[in-house]
Amino acid sequence: MPRALLVGLALAGAGAVPLVANNYVLSVLISLAMFTGLAYAWNIISGYTGYLSFGQVTFFGVGAYTAAVLIIKLHVAWPLAALAGGLLAALLSLPLGWIMLRLRGPYFAIGMLGLSRIAERIAFAWEPVTDGGRGLYLPPVLDLRAVYWAVVLVAAALVGITSLLDNSRFGLRLLAIREDEGGADNLGINTTLAKLQAFVLSAFFPGVLGGIYAWHVSYVDPVTAFATQIDLTAIVAVLLGGAGTVWGPLIGGVTLSVLAEVLWARFPFIHTALFGALVIVTVLFLPKGLADAFRQRGWLAPGRAFLRRLAARPAPLEAAPE
């Protein structure tokens, strides 16, 4: 199967990079894969389900702190600690999602932003565990390769999960909620459950990535772990690449990371301004993102092919419905 071969080659290629790359390149790639992963996670709840969240960083921060505490106080191996960070983030997202997903549109977006600010305040105040504003120090990481492999693994898993989602009835239910939640409800879709499932997925992976991040930078403090900037970067990556698509977050994440590096290297003083201008231009001229532009040029296959494939070779039609 050429498709499986392609996936295998891509994974092998990505996995082999640390064998030839130096630490600077690895750092850049870790950051790229990290934000691409965060973009994929955001894409599930916001791109597919249509619930624009400005607060998924809450779960990134929870994952970062969980992993840091487990590593420092209980000497847990960092990959397990990162996984535990994801699990706690997912567990926490159940009650939070139950409450927050009652809000819609801008109210949900602002509500999630508020939630992340509350989380940051708790991290400041809960000194016995978080050491407040001083932050938690972890042992320094000397070998970046394992971090790189972990982040790439998570990002690749998210590409796979999104691809499955895009070709599943669960994915269609999420899209239906995005398009018309009341209409979906009246067709028998348990919208509360579907939204919650999407929300948990969009919390688990940022939690894992937060845990890896804590290990990677060897330091966690409230301001960086719950930084709105982290959410905004993921959101811009998805919007640039194409929300509610399989390849959008990857296209956006890679484009964004490369541009950020180039702009930063060439225009060290105004690179953030140029970056902002670029985002505005993209939203104005490519409101559906690069993935849509690529599709129109035939460079990228249209998404959600599973129904079309089945419909292309149907059983013979009968005149009346069952």
Binding site: R169, L172, R173, L175, A176, E179, D180, G182, G183, A184, D185, N186, L187, G188, I189, N190, T191, R304, F306, L307, R308, L310, A311, P314, A315, L317, E318, A319, A320, P321, E322
Partner: protein, 235 residues
């Protein structure tokens, strides 16, 4: 089949539905008519759980469904369509048909969807985004989509409004074909000749309650109905 008793909904001081009571017989197309603002759509919303009643009971096939959520009502086999079709615009017609179906393998579901699209004459549009359809095509898609749930009772809110006469006739013929196969319908519409030819029973609502029920010709001659529509005749 459906048993509505003493249904009541107040919006502030307005009694939108005020003690509506009626029964639907299985396998029958029933029309629900009445002047604008008489509470027809609110009655639909109350039956399907989109609006919670202040009082009253809704029973579907003997089961109390008052206060259930719309998705729960839909899963029991009671489907509805809307005055303005509520399609999932950025999804294709086929995806619209498939999204909410739970039973069966995907292959079976797609097969059934294609058959129903054929039934409403939209096979050619299966892969088109729903947002690209004309108004009439949207009405047909919404009808086909609700049929995907294999409902035993379907509430149709103005299926003929804004649809050209040929298409309206086509929709009516589809409904009759489905009725012969055992589906029950409750239809709100203002197209009197069409409704009178389609429905075996007519319910008339005015000021939030059902003021008359019976065969089309009996209802048409009922003085209370004439009064509701045309006002009191002065001697």
């Amino acid at each position: 089949m459906l048993h509505v008793e003493g249904l009541e909904k107040r919006f502030g001081g307005l009694r939108a539905v005020d003690g509506a009571t009626f029964r639907l017989q299985p396998g029958v197309i029933t029309a629900l008519i009445g002047p604008n603002g008489s509470g027809k759509t609110t009655t639909f919303d109350l039956i399907t759980g989109n609006v919670r009643p202040n009082a009253g009971v809704v029973r579907f096939e003997g089961r109390d469904i008052t206060g259930l959520s719309p998705w729960q009502v839909a899963r029991l086999g009671l489907g509805r369509t809307f005055q303005l079709p509520r399609l999932f615009g950025e999804m294709t017609v086929l995806e619209n048909m498939t999204a909410a179906v739970r039973e069966g393998t995907l292959r079976e579901v797609v097969h059934r969807a294609l058959k129903l699209l054929d039934f409403v004459g939209l096979t050619a549009h299966a892969d088109a985004p729903a947002s690209s359809l004309s108004y009439g095509q949207r009405k047909l898609t919404e009808l086909a989509r609700v049929l995907m749930l294999r409902p035993r009772l379907v509430l149709l809110d103005e299926p003929f409004a804004g649809v050209n006469p040929t298409l309206a006739r086509a929709i009516a013929d589809r409904l009759l074909a489905l009725q012969r196969q055992g589906t029950t319908f409750l239809v709100i519409d203002h197209d009197m000749p069409l409704v009178m030819g389609l429905a075996e029973t007519v319910l008339v609502m005015d000021m939030g309650s059902v003021i008359a029920a019976g065969a089309p010709k009996d209802v048409r001659d009922d003085p209370r109905v004439r009064e509701a529509y045309f006002g009191t005749a002065r001697p």
